[in-house]
């Protein structure tokens, strides 16, 4: 089940419906709406999902100047949205995000002057925070910027594999024109010398996060950690 994580109008240039339509045509199983917190879009999730036959995940990418503000935003959005990401790329925000079990995804941790080390990765793994392995700059820049992005992706890949930390893969499109099919993204991965499974796992991880969170938000959970009914696994 491969998912595309996208920015929609007003954060991007296409509506949720147009991205859902294009993603469905392109063979994606789901679409994660990851608009920044200050550019959310208003849409009818269920109706769009039904019309285009694709899962639509209500997400948000929190962008804040400092961790204390970000922390407030995480609290606000956590109960209302299926997927909560934090806009990374700054050492302080990266550290904040990986320490929060309430955060699902740390977006583009190596963008800008962001960096990561083994401590960050281990903390992320402990808290179940997925690091985004973003193909954005590979797909849409060239020259020095792309070389830099490729180097960062390699570093992130090696650390994630070493510590078996969770991650998500995306092309991070902000219009239907920037969207690419899963198959085409796999070919890019192959050209960069990454195994097909690496990209596939990352594209489906979005869906896994969504279904886990939906399950947690469902009536089966009385409160965090307490599930209604018998636990069949422990018997």
């Amino acid at each position: 089940m491969m998912y595309a994580a996208v920015h929609t109008r007003p954060d991007g240039d296409s509506t949720v419906a147009r991205l859902a339509l294009t993603a469905a045509e392109y063979g994606f199983d789901g679409l994660v709406i990851r608009n920044h917190g200050d550019a959310l879009s208003d849409y009818d999730r269920g109706a769009i999902a039904d019309t285009y036959g694709i899962d639509v995940v209500d997400g948000v990418e929190i962008r804040a100047d400092d961790p204390s503000r970000a922390s407030g935003f995480v609290g606000n959005h956590r109960d209302r949205r299926t997927l909560v990401a934090v806009h990374g790329g700054d050492p302080e925000m990266n550290r904040f995000a990986v320490e929060q079990p309430a955060v699902d995804v740390l977006a583009h941790p190596l963008a800008g002057d962001g960096d990561i080390d083994h401590v960050t990765i281990k903390t992320a793994a402990e808290n179940g925070v997925h690091l985004e392995w973003s193909l954005r700059d590979v797909l849409r820049t060239d020259g020095g910027q792309r070389v830099e992005a490729l180097r960062n992706l390699r570093k992130l890949h090696d650390l994630l594999s070493e510590y078996d930390a969770p991650y998500v893969v995306s092309g991070d499109p902000s219009s239907h024109l920037q969207l690419r099919t899963p198959r085409d993204l796999l070919a890019v991965g192959e050209a960069l010398d990454y195994a097909t499974e690496w990209i596939e796992t990352g594209l489906s991880a979005w869906g896994d996060i969504a279904s886990r969170n939906r399950d947690r938000a469902s009536d089966a959970f009385v409160e965090p950690g307490v599930r209604r009914g018998r636990d069949t696994e422990s018997e």
Partner: protein, 159 residues
């Protein structure tokens, strides 16, 4: 020179490519070919771009939608696909590309993957985000002009 015997001739693969842009953009074959070569060179370098040996066999693009057939050497299909995936704009205009399928002949490529295209495009005003705006629609895809830019929408978004 004599044509090479069949078993030593180069074998090709043909990629059927779907193209989409904003409706006010027109891309011609030469510009597409040039950018494709740049993209190959940037992604794969001289060695890789010689190995994929991309060329545009057929090209059509009008009112924001089109298709192309791109030839590559057999065995380089994955690299060719990667290059197409990384082609994000032509002459500064964003371009959406998707490989619809791969065939061993141009004819099969056309028949299997590029047939049945060309739904009529309609021009007219639509109600979008609380105002009447000019739009170009094709099937359920609607590109709405909002001030100077286009917005990608669908029939669902307009009322």
């Amino acid at each position: 020179m004599k044509p090479l015997p069949k078993h030593v001739r180069q074998r090709w693969r043909y990629l059927a490519v779907g193209i989409e842009t904003w409706p006010d953009v027109t891309i011609d074959r030469r510009a597409f070919q040039r950018h494709l070569w740049f993209a190959a060179q940037n992604l794969l370098g001289d060695v890789g771009s010689a190995a994929t040996d991309l060329s545009v066999m057929q090209f059509g693009h009008d009112e924001g939608t089109g298709s192309a057939i791109v030839r590559t050497r057999r065995g380089s299909v994955s690299d060719a696909r990667a290059v197409l995936t990384c082609l994000s704009e032509v002459d500064g205009n964003p371009i959406g590309l998707r490989v619809r399928g791969v065939s061993g002949t141009v004819r099969a490529c056309e028949e299997k993957y590029l047939g049945g295209r060309g739904e009529a495009t309609e021009h007219g005003n639509v109600a979008f985000e609380g105002a009447e705006r000019p739009a170009i629609s094709r099937d359920s895809h609607v590109d709405v002009r909002v001030e100077t830019e286009f917005v990608g929408a669908t029939q669902r978004d307009i009322s």
